[in-house]
Amino acid sequence: MVPARPETAADFDRLNPEDAIVSYITDFTPAVALGGGLLIGAAAVLLMAGIGRIAGISGMLHGLVSDGGNRGWRASFLIGLVAGAALYVLIWPGDIPARHGFPTLALIVAGLLVGAGTRLGSGCTSGHGVCGIARQSPRSMTATGIFMACGVVTAIVVRHLLGIGS
């Protein structure tokens, strides 16, 4: 018996067979979350041990565009990142569903805010969140607290009050 309101990702798929792929309900996946997290941490430690750099993705992206002299290692890391993701998609095709139907305007506004915010605030989830907290940097801990709190409030407003993406 399928409930009237979806409770799990599988319920959502049964209720929306024609649009199963856009399920906004996801299931708790502790094992792969922890495993993937360990890999992300290992990559950050390898980058610091290898070339003495913080694995901050926003800094690398902005630096590629504006810091002419030091592009090389940034490009190598970012190309590697896309290759690593491609490898996963090759091994497990379709495992990560491609969201569709999300409003393009919302996507553009999100990108502009993330770009301006990470540039002004000198970091994102990786540089401040993963690396900065591990360094016990008060700046990074402050930034992480702020972007987490703002992310939660925004997600609630956007999904429940504006009804976008759900």
Binding site: E7, P30, G52, L61, L113, V158
Partner: protein
């Protein structure tokens, strides 16, 4: 050359980890950020797993004089909690909560949702350049 190989290897592991953890999936991120309804706490474990490695790892690396393939350790030097940090983190959080993408996952998404990833990444670059202009 050695620097590039090390950076690329770290990138591959990072990108694979983003996908394995499903943090590259914006629906997963939004299901974490939005506790109203069907909260999915998975992302807390991604962050926790990463810190489990970086915390002790950086404690050891703090004592290194130089990395394998460079002359110095480029630890960040800024210590002040200033206005740009606070405003920037807030803007970033709002954008993250709208789209479900932060920079790393957006790059990973090039491989399974190129349409969304390209639109988001172009806007991200433009937003960064605009912030430079305004801050000047």
């Amino acid at each position: 050359m050695k620097r590039h190989i090390l950076a690329a290897a770290a990138g591959v592991i990072f990108g694979f980890g983003l996908c394995l953890s499903h943090m590259a999936d914006p629906q997963k991120v939004l299901a974490f950020l939005d506790p109203v309804g069907h909260w999915d706490p998975s992302l807390a474990l991604v962050m926790g797993g990463a810190l489990l490695v970086t915390f002790p790892g950086f404690l050891v690396l703090r004592r290194w004089q130089r990395p394998w393939a460079d002359k110095i350790m480029h630890w960040p030097s800024a210590t002040q909690i200033d206005r740009p940090l606070v405003i920037g983190a807030a803007l970033f959080g709002i954008g993250w909560g709208i789209g479900g993408y932060c920079p790393g996952p957006a790059l990973a998404a090039l491989t399974f949702n190129p349409r969304e990833a390209i639109i988001f990444l172009i806007a991200l670059i433009v937003g960064g350049l605009a912030a430079d202009r305004l801050a000047r």
